[in-house]
Structures are given as structure tokens and as C-alpha cells.
């Protein structure tokens, strides 16, 4: 009974087109944001901030990027980490080689570099579809990491190909504590999530979904496949690129190209599938799931006092089993579960 939209009538299309048409949702979101931005940096422990919230947000951003490509535009990609790597290494080089460049600008430029790589590797998607395309995107993954290890200039000729992210400073203000880093990441991610939400609910988003659902029909209606797909690749890679830069700057610090390996690509993919393909909220839920579950299982296994090798393997098995379980319960991911939950609440206490 407490989740009702009764009495809330939309008097204009503008109101109806809002991101969250129901007042309760709006209030809840704003409250969450306020807590995340104001309370958490003060209250949460540095551990929570630097080991949970920061990676959670960064991965959510990358998942958002992948979701644009896979969830909205329907192009399954296994090369997310490569785009992240491009973003990170490009940002590093911008900061290194253009003295005094504002950090955020470097991130944006890094993202743009990733977008360009994305466009280049997106070109084949005009002809190749489905799993054929997915497997082909591995080319991106391996090629980009290979380039980063081979081309010394990109890593400033460091002997081992490792880069060290420069200090984060914006307008003279150093983002060096977990809380500060967290706030920076949060603001970037929240803003970019908003932009993404805007995109997917406007014509661009519809063009992506149309191409995803039925590309021939989309063409007949007047969407141009090439432009639409490449734009999806570009925007998605941009998001991943920025996420990759944040991953390097706000999380890892010192990075080798290997940090952006296939494993990472897969983790991001899990996030969107567990969270919900084609849902902005899903990227966040999925990221939370993938970041938190292993930690949770790990703590649980400790509590059971199992021998560590048994515990570790059990952890992995439970993780795999849970993925399957969630897919069976709801193939459309946590975001859909959430939605169904709300629909049920709306009907509650009457079953139907």
C-alpha cells in the first residue's frame, strides 16, 4: 500500500517523460544521491570507500558503457577492458605530455580516444552479427593490450610497461584520500549516468534499441544502420574509456596493461547480464552484485572456518551457481526483478 502512484496524474507529456514518473521514486533517488554524496564520505570507513564504493562506481560506469552497446544497441562485446585500457593509457599520456592540462579534460580526451578505437573496431559490426561479432570483439581485447605492451611511447618507456597514474588534482585541490576520490568518482559517474539515461530515452536511444530488436525494420523506418551502430560503439567506448581512466587514477594507481585483461571484460559483461541488459539501473545493480558477492562469500567462508582452499573453491562454485540461479529466476536481470517487485508492491495486499 505504500508504493502507489494513485493520485499522481500527468498533466503534460513533459511530466510524463520524466526519468522517474513516480514521485516516490524521485524522492528515493534524490535521497540516495544525497546520502551517497554527503553522508557516506563522512560516515563510511576508508575501507568501504576505497575498496567497495569506488570500484563499484567505476565498474558501474564501465557496465553502463557496455550496456549502451550490448543492452541498447544489441552488439555483444567481449572487449570492454580494451576500451578501458585505451581510456586509461590515453589519459595518462595527455597528463604526461601536455603540462597543466586539467585532469577532467584529460579523462574526456582519454574517453574520446577510446571512442575512436571503438569506432574502428565497430566497423565490422555492419556486416557481422551475434556471437560471430562477439568472438570478433576479442580481437580488440588482445590487440589493444598487445599494442600497449609493444609500443613503448604509450607507457613513457617504462622498463616494464607499467604506468603510474599521476596525482589527481583539480583546480589545485588534491583528490588523494579515499573520501575525496570517492566523491570525484561519484560525481563523474552520476553525471554520466544521467547523460546516458537522457540518451537512451531520446531518439538516439530509440534508434539503438530499434537496431537491436530488428535491424531490417529499423532501416526501413529510416534509421541509418551504420551511423547508429557506430555511434553506439563510440558512446559506449567513451564511457568505458572514462571508466578505465578512473580505474587507473582513482583505484589502481600503478597499472600494467594486463590489468585490463579479458577477465575484466568478462566481469563487466556479467554485470550487465546479472543486472539487466538494457537498463541503466541494471548496470549499477550488476556492478554491486559482482563487487559485493565475492566479498560476502569470502567473509562467509571465513566465518565457517573451512580450510582456505576448500573455501576458495566453494566460493567460486557458489558464485557460478548464483549466476545461474538468478538467470533462471529472472533472465532479464536484477533490474527486472526490482521492477516486478515494485509492481507487486503496487498491487499489494491484493494478489492481482
Amino acid at each position: 500500500m505504500f508504493y502507489r502512484e494513485t493520485g499522481q496524474f500527468k498533466t503534460s507529456y513533459e511530466a510524463d517523460g520524466q526519468i522517474l514518473p513516480i514521485r516516490q521514486d524521485r524522492v528515493a533517488l534524490l535521497a540516495t544521491l544525497a546520502v551517497a554524496l554527503l553522508a557516506l564520505p563522512l560516515l563510511a570507513s576508508p575501507y568501504m570507500l576505497s575498496a567497495i564504493f569506488i570500484p563499484f562506481l567505476i565498474f558501474a560506469l564501465a557496465a553502463l558503457g557496455l550496456n549502451i552497446l550490448t543492452g541498447y544497441a544489441g552488439q555483444l562485446s567481449l572487449g570492454t577492458a580494451a576500451f578501458m585500457a585505451v581510456g586509461a593509457f590515453a589519459s595518462y599520456n595527455f597528463v604526461l605530455r601536455i603540462p597543466g592540462i586539467p585532469l577532467l579534460l584529460a579523462f574526456v580526451l582519454g574517453g574520446l580516444c577510446a571512442a575512436m578505437v571503438g569506432i574502428a573496431f565497430g566497423l565490422p559490426s555492419l556486416r557481422i552479427r551475434g556471437f560471430y561479432l562477439a568472438a570478433s570483439t576479442l580481437a580488440t581485447q588482445f590487440f589493444v593490450v598487445w599494442c600497449l605492451t609493444k609500443i613503448g611511447w604509450l607507457t613513457n618507456y617504462s622498463s616494464s610497461g607499467v604506468i603510474t597514474a599521476q596525482k589527481m588534482e583539480i583546480l589545485g585541490y588534491a583528490f588523494d584520500t579515499p573520501a575525496r576520490k570517492y566523491v570525484l568518482v561519484l560525481v563523474v559517474v552520476a553525471l554520466m549516468a544521467l547523460l546516458a539515461k537522457n540518451l537512451v530515452r531520446s531518439n538516439v536511444g530509440r534508434s539503438w534499441m530499434a537496431v537491436r530488436d530488428m535491424d531490417v525494420a529499423a532501416e526501413v523506418i529510416g534509421f541509418r544502420l551504420m551511423r547508429t551502430k557506430l555511434l553506439a560503439f563510440a558512446v559506449s567506448s567513451f564511457y568505458c574509456g572514462v571508466a578505465g581512466a578512473l580505474y587507473a587514477y582513482a583505484y589502481l594507481g600503478t597499472v600494467e596493461p594486463e590489468a585490463y585483461n579479458l577477465d575484466l571484460s568478462f566481469r563487466i559483461l556479467f554485470m550487465i547480464i546479472i543486472g539487466g541488459v538494457g537498463s541503466i539501473l541494471g548496470a549499477f545493480l550488476g556492478s554491486a552484485f559482482i563487487v559485493l558477492l565475492p566479498v560476502f562469500l569470502n567473509i562467509l567462508a571465513h566465518g565457517l572456518a573451512l580450510p582456505t582452499s576448500v573455501a576458495s573453491n566453494l566460493e567460486l562454485m557458489v558464485f557460478g551457481a548464483l549466476i545461474i540461479f538468478f538467470l533462471i529466476v529472472e533472465p532479464h536481470g536484477l533490474a527486472r526483478l526490482w521492477q516486478i517487485g515494485k509492481e507487486k508492491l503496487r498491487l499489494w495486499p491484493f494478489p492481482h
Partner: protein, 412 residues
């Protein structure tokens, strides 16, 4: 009673589980032994493991979770380059000393720039230098290297590229031809590389490999008729895991190591006091004394010695803080006499650290696989051109300091 808490972000699943379980098993076994013997001046060691899956992101989470536990972790060893990089800045901030035994940044040997990082015993650069030294000796003197062909067959990643500056400099100095051949990770297929090697007819092949790449290299060498005796692996290519997987092909294969294979009183004691009581960490007792296990034991010894050293300065029988342990790590002196007392004489080279030298040794041995086990084939510890590596350390750490705005200075 207070206990000295240390953090073990370990990995026991996934591709590197075999190494991880041996190494951390060794560390834990040693801690159990120390505790069974009454601890370090009465202070027991308390540890916690956290599964990282060798994944930097999870490793960082583990580190962050453990670092504040039980009054704060005073030591950490991730045994993974990626994780070590990920917590490199953090350990300095949190004042939790990190050891990286035989991996990680070679330039971290400079304690002025990396006060909290300890690439103990030997780094990649010193190893590479020692390899060339060994090959020179084997050929009858460094001058005999002139005109020889040495293949550097390497894992195409940061790890494999790390020794290149040293090898290149030495190749110039001694006039041998260095042929670099990369193997795309993970390296489960190397036919083309070995055909290239066969074509080049080198005198030696340095195998700078990791994981499955090693056994495949050995196997493929056999398939192509390349003598295993001419192969010299890094210490990450010199464990039972590498040779057993390669089967009979591995007979005669040589590799570097910083542990002399063999039996030691400390291992006997371990069997008696730990394994006999069912508290052993390895599930298969056959692996006791294996390369990874012994490397773990070594790490355990170094840690306890560092804590002991710190206690001597800051108060015996007290729990040391991370800062204090750091001091201990920086002022260790495990000479032969101390090794004897520990029942580990010759198990690893003598270690003497200082602010300038967080590595403390740089000496290694060469071992050979006889089909069943490893045997040391250099009676003495081999040390390469340390002046050269020192120069590289200085240069590289200076660059890092510049990028990070660090003023190099010894910590107090």
C-alpha cells in the same frame, strides 16, 4: 595476549592456484612452527587469508579489508605483480610494509623512494644479470660469450619485458647476440617460437615464462629436438609445477632459483611439529619442500626475522606496528650464522638490507631437473653485475619519484 597480525591476500583457485597454495602454504606452515615454538619472543603471529583469484581488483579489496583488522596488518605479500602495483601507493600511505619476493618492481629496491616496498632477496634485474654471469661462467669466462647467441623467450607482458634493459646492456658489453622472441600469453602454443629458435640455432635459451607457458616451452623444445640443458628458466619457470606438467621432457632443464633445493633442519622440524599434529597447510605432504613451498617458508622466515629485528629495537615481546616492522625489514641481517640458528643454512642467500638496498642480496643459484626433483648445480650463490642494476634502479626510481612528486629520503 596480543598477537602480531599479518595479511595474506592469497589465491587458491584459478590458473595460478598451484603456486599460490604452495607459497602461502609455506608461509602459514612457518608461522605455525613459530607459534608452536612460542612465537617471536612470546608474540604469536596471527594471519588471515583472503582469496584474490590473482585479480588486482579483488586483491585491493582484500588488502583494504585486512589492513585495519586485528589492530592493523603489519605485513603483506600478494605474490602477484598486478596486486602489488595496485597497493603500491596504498601501503606507503597506510604504513603497511609489503614484500615482493622475486617479482614486482625491480626499482623498489631503492628504499628512499619506496620506503614500504621490499623486493627481498632478488629482483628481476639482478636475476637477469646473474643469468648472464652464470652463462658466462659455464662457457668458461665472460669473454667467451662474445659471438654467442642467446634467445630471450619471454612472456609478452610487463613481466617478460622487465629484464630487457639489463640483457640489452650486457649483450652490448659482452658481445653476445640477444634474440628476443615473444610468446603471446598465456602461451599454451609455442610451435612457431620454437621453430624460430631452431632456425636461429642459439647457444642458450632464457625462458622468461610464467604459468602454462613454461611447461609448454619445455615440451615444445622436446618436440623440436632442442636440448633442455641449454634452456635456462627464471625462477617462475623453475618449480615442480612447471616440470611435472612437462613430464619426461623436462629432464635436464635448468632454471634459476633463490632457494637451494634440498632438505633442511627447519623442514624436518616442520614435519614433526606441524604436520605430525595435523596442522600442516598443504593437503599433499609430497609437496613439502617443493620450490613454491620453500619459497613460502623463506618468506615466512624473512617476515619473522624482520619482526624480531624490529622487536630488538622497539621492545622485545611487544606487538610491532607496521612502521616498526618496516624498520625491521630495512635493518635485517640474516647471515650464515643466523641461518644456521634457524635451521635454514643455505636455503636462501644471506640477506642484509638497508635503506638504499631493500633487496638485501641479489644472489641466486641455478638448479636442474633430473626427472624427479630439482638439484642445485651451482655450489655457490651467483651474483651478476650489481653496479649495472644499481644504476638502473637509481634511474627508474628517480623517474617514478619525479612522476609522483616524491622527495627521495630514508625513512626514520
Amino acid at each position: 595476549q596480543a598477537e602480531q597480525f599479518v595479511a595474506l591476500p592469497s589465491y587458491r583457485v584459478g590458473p595460478y592456484a598451484s603456486g599460490g597454495s604452495g607459497f602461502y602454504g609455506g608461509m602459514i606452515d612457518y608461522f605455525n612452527l613459530v607459534n608452536a615454538n612460542g612465537g617471536i619472543n612470546g608474540v604469536k603471529i596471527q594471519w588471515e587469508e583472503c582469496e584474490t583469484e590473482y585479480n588486482p581488483s579483488r586483491g585491493i579489496e582484500c588488502y583494504e579489508r585486512m589492513k585495519t583488522k586485528n589492530g592493523g596488518a603489519s605485513l603483506v605479500e600478494p605474490l602477484s605483480t598486478g596486486i602489488a602495483y595496485g597497493i603500491l601507493d596504498r601501503v606507503a600511505q597506510d604504513k603497511v610494509p609489503m614484500t615482493t619476493l622475486g617479482y614486482g618492481r625491480s626499482d623498489a629496491a631503492n628504499g628512499k623512494v619506496f620506503p614500504y616496498v621490499f623486493p627481498l632477496i632478488t629482483s628481476y634485474w639482478n636475476q637477469a644479470a646473474a643469468m648472464i654471469k652464470y652463462l658466462g661462467d659455464k662457457n668458461g669466462g665472460m669473454d667467451k660469450l662474445k659471438g654467442k647467441k642467446i634467445v630471450h623467450l619471454y612472456h609478452d607482458s610487463a613481466f617478460g619485458k622487465e629484464p630487457l634493459p639489463v640483457l640489452e646492456a650486457l649483450s652490448k658489453q659482452y658481445g653476445f647476440e640477444l634474440i628476443k622472441i615473444a610468446v603471446a600469453p598465456p602461451g599454451s602454443e609455442q610451435q612457431s617460437q620454437w621453430l624460430q629458435i631452431r632456425q636461429a640455432k642459439p647457444d642458450h635459451v632464457i625462458l622468461w615464462g610464467w604459468g602454462v607457458m613454461n611447461s609448454v616451452a619445455i615440451k615444445t623444445a622436446q618436440r623440436n629436438g632442442f636440448p633442455r640443458e641449454k634452456m635456462l628458466g627464471v625462477w617462475w619457470a623453475g618449480s615442480e609445477e612447471d616440470t611435472i606438467a612437462a613430464g619426461d621432457a623436462a629432464k635436464g632443464y635448468t632454471s634459476m632459483t633463490f632457494n637451494t633445493p634440498g632438505n633442511y633442519p627447519v623442514i624436518d622440524e616442520l614435519r614433526k611439529k606441524v604436520y605430525a599434529g595435523g596442522k600442516g597447510n598443504l593437503s599433499e605432504q609430497t609437496r613439502i619442500g617443493s620450490v613454491y613451498h620453500m619459497r613460502g617458508l623463506t618468506a615466512g622466515i624473512l617476515w619473522t626475522e624482520a619482526i624480531r629485528t624490529a622487536q630488538e629495537k622497539f621492545g622485545k615481546g611487544k606487538v610491532m606496528t607496521g612502521e616498526q616492522v618496516r624498520w625491521g625489514l630495512e635493518n635485517m641481517n640474516i647471515d650464515e650464522a643466523r641461518q644456521k640458528a634457524l635451521g635454514a643454512f643455505g636455503m636462501f642467500p644471506p640477506v642484509k638490507t638497508s635503506c638504499d638496498d631493500h633487496e638485501g642480496s641479489g644472489a641466486v643459484k641455478v638448479q636442474q631437473w633430473d626427472g624427479k626433483k630439482w638439484n642445485a648445480i651451482t655450489p655457490n650463490w651467483v651474483v651478476g653485475d650489481k653496479a649495472l642494476t644499481r644504476k638502473l634502479v637509481e634511474e627508474s626510481s628517480a623517474k617514478y619519484a619525479a612522476e609522483k612528486n616524491i622527495t627521495a629520503a630514508c625513512a626514520k
